[in-house]
């Protein structure tokens, strides 16, 4: 077996070194590109997933979301719950908030976004919205009669530029009317506009919790309590910790809250990725197959001679397998170099998605999966044509 492989390797090596360099280089280049294609698109998809995950944590949910018990609208005595949560090790921020829908109007533009009522200082301990103020300033704890708008909600004077129903280009300092669902209508001065690239932030509005409680005549309650933990990825463990500390409300992880949205996006991307991967692998198998097949057909007589002088068929097949594996190895290596260059390029000029700049995520399982699939494809594409050609009887092959 080893002796056979040695002879096959000897034949393959000489064939590579002294064969047609142009065809070999082109084939290697194609395999390199296929490898890039196998890695690049999934890495972008993973990058998008990472981006959306981080956005969910930073701008929408924190790590955990506590909501009222079944059939209840509010969490009561929320300040006590907040104090309890803040004492639990591993928790770095707790933000109680109200969510409501309200009708906001400005110069004849009427929209109904989600209105978040927050304690700004608490909110800053959980979410990063306060760092994304693009004009004006963020809410302060004592603010009343002031509102912060997402930039999509504030909109543009030219409504063609808007992607969601907007207030038609309201700016900081202007006054908008808000009608709450309890019938109260009040005027609010726009204190700031946030541009976070998170759709849920940029399309909605924020007032203080104090203001909301004044409008609705309630106190020390919340619809949601957002919790930020030190470590991301251990949400389930933290949920159990919260339960053990006597938290009786419903506790969601950020993954559970954003699952539908993210799954839809990733699901769609995965379909594209599957098609891309399948096409790439088909290209790889066809290219290697054709190259080896032409090579073997062209050397049909030589194969017959080799068999005639006593070189076993399996040695000849193996020699073509080695050639295919060489193409795979150098192609993959070259593809890896291309990929590094592309990643460098993207680090300097990132692809900007609606959610923000996406960094491709190239992880080891992805590299192993792509390399293995290309390896298997190369083996098949090298073996089959060599097997077909060497099957011919010696005299027919020699006579050509």
């Amino acid at each position: 077996m080893f002796e056979e492989s040695k002879v096959a390797f000897f034949l393959a090596k000489r064939s590579i070194l002294r064969g047609n360099k142009g065809t070999l280089s082109l084939t290697i280049l194609i395999i390199g590109m296929v490898f890039v294609n196998l890695i690049f698109l999934p890495s972008i998809i993973t990058g998008v997933a990472v981006l959306f995950n981080q956005q969910s944590i930073d701008y929408s949910y924190g790590n955990l979301v506590i909501e009222p018990k079944k059939n209840q609208v509010y969490i009561t005595q929320v300040s006590e719950l907040q104090r309890k949560l803040e004492r639990i090790p591993g928790i770095t921020g707790v933000s109680p908030r109200y969510l409501t829908s309200a009708t906001i109007s400005y110069k004849g533009n009427v929209v109904t976004p989600v209105l978040y009522a927050i304690n700004p200082s608490d909110e800053q301990g959980v979410l990063r919205i306060a760092t994304k103020v693009s004009s004006g300033s963020y809410l302060a704890d004592g603010d009343t009669g002031q509102i912060v708008l997402g930039f999509r909600l504030a909109g543009n004077e030219d409504e063609k530029l808007d992607v969601v129903p907007s207030l038609g280009g309201v700016s900081v300092g202007r006054v908008v009317d808000i009608s709450f669902n309890n019938g109260v209508t009040r005027q609010y001065r726009v204190k700031g506009i946030v541009t976070s690239n998170s759709f849920s932030v940029d399309s909605n509005a924020f007032i203080t919790k104090k203001e909301y409680e004044d409008v609705f005549g309630i106190e020390d309650m919340a619809n949601q309590v957002l919790v930020r933990t030190i470590e991301t990825g251990k949400e389930n463990e933290m949920r159990n910790t919260l339960l053990s500390f006597g938290v009786q409300e419903k506790i969601w992880t950020w993954q559970e809250k954003s699952a539908n949205f993210l799954n839809q996006i990733i699901g769609s991307f995965n379909i594209i990725n599957f098609i891309g991967t399948a096409v790439s692998l088909v290209i790889a198998i066809v290219v290697i197959f054709i190259v080896i097949f032409i090579n073997t057909v062209y050397r049909r007589k030589q194969i017959g001679i080799l068999k005639a002088i006593g070189i076993d068929r399996s040695i000849i097949i193996k020699s073509y397998l080695f050639q295919a594996l060489f193409i795979f190895a150098i192609g993959t290596l070259m593809g890896g170099v291309f990929l590094l260059l592309i990643l460098q390029l993207l680090a300097a000029n990132p692809i900007v998605f609606p959610g923000g700049p996406v960094a491709p995520v190239v992880d080891l399982p992805l590299i192993v999966r792509s390399t293995m699939s290309l390896f298997i494809v190369s083996l098949i594409a090298g073996y089959v044509p060599a097997w077909i050609t060497t099957r011919e009887d010696i005299l027919s092959a020699i006579r050509g």
Partner: protein, 235 residues
């Protein structure tokens, strides 16, 4: 040592059948230099292919060194060709990407010899065929005569029981043909190498110890060289 009995080879199926060999029986002794001659289509190459285990007879038996070739499976036939037979083709049939040395090296390597043994065997045999200084040249850089000598060296490197040559001078001019035939004669006389060679050139006859003339798939005549050097019909 080589015995062919009632060898028949029929090509084609159905109504159109060609009897390339039609009941040929022949025995070749160790150390013979046998020429198989005859016009095109006489069956001389077919007989050589049978001896070289490149083809199977439709009927009849071939026994080489006591081994009935008909009992060997494909893998065993390949091993037999590698270890006991040497084959020289009309058009040299060298691997173009291998140098002279590597072409010769290949069969000994396939036989499982060590690199040192292979190199030694190659150098010896290439020197024997007069190519000691051309061992690193590719076939494309060599003349037809030189390529054929490399092919002979390749056929001999495993010290075969039987060297088979299928019109080895067909693509060579008379000067190179003479070099090849002289080499065969020297191998036969000095090393007692058994050689069976197919030819249709009349002037090649002077090199053979024994000539089997074929026509229409049967042996028409057999002549042997006597001690006086003359060709006389076999009894």
């Amino acid at each position: 040592m080589i015995i062919g009995r009632d060898l028949t080879r029929i090509y084609g199926m159905g109504a159109v059948q060609v009897r390339a060999l039609d009941g040929v029986s022949v025995e070749i002794q160790k150390g013979d230099f046998v020429g198989i001659m005859g016009p095109s289509g006489s069956g001389k190459s077919t007989l050589l292919h049978m001896f070289g285990l490149l083809d199977r007879p439709t009927s009849g038996t071939i026994i080489i060194d006591g081994v009935d070739a008909g009992t060997l499976d494909e893998r065993a036939r390949t091993q037999f060709r590698l270890r006991r037979l040497g084959y020289v083709f009309q058009d040299y049939a060298l691997v173009p990407e291998l140098t002279a040395k590597e072409n010769v090296y290949l069969p000994s390597m396939a036989r499982g010899m060590t690199a040192q043994e292979c190199t030694l065997a190659c150098s010896e045999i290439l020197t024997l065929v007069g190519l000691g200084n051309r061992i690193h040249h590719l076939p494309g850089e060599m003349s037809g005569g030189e390529q054929q000598r490399v092919a002979i060296a390749r056929a001999l490197v495993n010290r075969p029981t039987l060297l088979l040559a299928d019109e080895p001078c067909a693509n060579l001019d008379s000067q190179n043909s003479k070099i090849i035939l002289d080499l065969f004669q020297r191998l036969n006389r000095d090393l007692h190498q058994t050689i069976v060679m197919v030819s249709h050139e009349e002037w090649h006859k002077r090199y053979f110890d024994r000539i089997i003339s074929m026509k229409d798939g049967v042996i028409e005549e057999e002549v042997n060289r006597n001690e006086g050097g003359e060709l006389t019909p076999s009894p």
